[in-house]
Assembly symmetry: C2
Homo-oligomer: 380 residues x 2
Amino acid sequence: MEFMYQDLPKIGLLGGGQLGRMLLQAGIDLDFQISCLDPDPEAPCQRLAHEFTQGSFQDFDTVYLFGQSQDLISIEIEHVNIDALEKLASEGKQVYPQPHLLRMIQDKRTQKQFFQQYGFPTADFRLIESREEINQHLDFLPAYQKLGKGGYDGKGVQLIADATQIAEGFDAPGLLEKAVDFEKELAVIVARNIHGEVKAFPAVEMVFHPVQNLVEFLISPAAISEEIEAQAVDIATRLIEEMKMVGLLAVEMFLTKDGQVLINEIAPRPHNSGHQTIRANATSQYEQHLRAIAGLPLGDTSTTVFAGMLNLLGEAGYTGKVKYEGLAEALAIPGVFPFLYGKKITKPFRKMGHVSIIGESREEVEEKANQVKKIIRVIS
Amino acid sequence: MEFMYQDLPKIGLLGGGQLGRMLLQAGIDLDFQISCLDPDPEAPCQRLAHEFTQGSFQDFDTVYLFGQSQDLISIEIEHVNIDALEKLASEGKQVYPQPHLLRMIQDKRTQKQFFQQYGFPTADFRLIESREEINQHLDFLPAYQKLGKGGYDGKGVQLIADATQIAEGFDAPGLLEKAVDFEKELAVIVARNIHGEVKAFPAVEMVFHPVQNLVEFLISPAAISEEIEAQAVDIATRLIEEMKMVGLLAVEMFLTKDGQVLINEIAPRPHNSGHQTIRANATSQYEQHLRAIAGLPLGDTSTTVFAGMLNLLGEAGYTGKVKYEGLAEALAIPGVFPFLYGKKITKPFRKMGHVSIIGESREEVEEKANQVKKIIRVIS
């Protein structure tokens, strides 16, 4: 169990967005050396990365070349070039999460098949190759149509209520998923290191924006029974163990009205549903990801407070150099902690930052969140 | 109370050591743009600063030039060129803490005179200009001789027990201070912003290393009565208000065996006695310093846990490229959070990092601290 300074791996991160930025921030504590690859020359990680490489994380040569100078390659976005990661792994580089798992997760169809194959509870689904094929599943409607690949941040998902809506469907490989009559949406973030140690964060509860389908408000811990909590944590734990994944896995779940916990989808990285862990939990999801991939013991995930998280989205109707209205007023509320991602340009519904909110009760957190929502505006 | 993105000042920080590094880390949340000036090309802030300028913060021209391109100049070390800061302030730059206060604090003699003049309790003292002059104060011995200027991290202080030890005294301007028969050493960190808002952190208790006189172990909150706590916080609050200082003030105090609280000395910046606030308090001292100097509302300083802090000092007998032995083992203990400052070379007793320790009771924190002390070794 001895650990020398020299043993900390030089990490190359595919992606340089806000998740990467918070990973870099957490990595300062143990003096991790983390470089980033991102196509945007003004990505949130640009100034903070050990080295910042401008380039596409979807391009084989770019990823392969970037990985050459690292000891360990990880991700903050899963839509990356897997072939290059496989080649790097075959040549002895550490790649966490493992490339074959990224490949499975990249496509929502193989995700669903994995859940099914290993007996994890998930909503019923049908695979389809095109818009046309929806017609063969009229008996299955109403259902959500999900694109297999490329969906992100609420994009690539839409409800097909009946045959009249098929014309608006995506014309690409994907799946139809039975709409779940759910009471709550939950998320459990779980980590596993190379030694097989697994630790889960307490379940949180998500509230989505009805139009953009982005997490709009999150509350921790979820208001669920101990039994449901145990069930959600058990599913996430068994899933990461079954996958033998090294890294951080965010498991989004539905709690149905009849008390079942179903897996919705998974993300193999720090996740929007874990931002509040920076202020609310003993160890943050970002530190946990670094501990997991670097082979260090996992940190204590417990929390002793109630926490909330609000995304700061660019307001509709504003595109241009960002301004944050009301920040000082929000900072005057005890337990309100805004995080700005350093993006220079705002666009409607672009994720520009978030606000973590700490309180002694759920009601206190909700009340502060409502205040903050009224105070802060992301405009140009 | 409206606050726009553009209003966040571009900050220039004199000093690029570990305190600066943790300021930069905290500044990521609100996307502060902070540049550093430090003579060491491998200073802990070198890679993280917005811009890093290698140069002396004690040289007039260097500081003046560095300050020209900033909106606001602050410090992470008080031994800086004040003349340059005064010139920058006179030309309209914001300089916090204010230069005249840095001048007063730079010299322990003027510090003591300030305490005396404004009626703050402090140990009795005599000003001296040279070693020779100690002979005129034989009636005052035993006493601690303190250098007026240049003392730092336990250097510049020594006990003169009696006339036979005068030959070992410092031959420079300074003071003799009556040794205080104290029960505990306390510290209160207090912040004040330009609007006059003042907030103090709860008092902490320090335990010094008997030889190097560096804080070796710190525990929060201090085990003192509510009355003593109120007295310590009141002294720190009145002091920063009397000074009209903008920024963070660390006030080190003695609790005497007869129940008096005396000011020992002060530092106008984040302080070793506040490292644990990163993990243990709602707002860290680093974030609070940034809020204070940038004119933002101050954050909640409360804590709901017990916390400890251990310095990681270079072990005697080792000089060279640093290695941290036992880090992984220490990370396996819940609530143990090492912070490494990114210094490449270790030397005996050099501050290389610290460990914050969180627990549910003082005993739990002390027990973990004793474990960590045995596990981690900073060698080469």
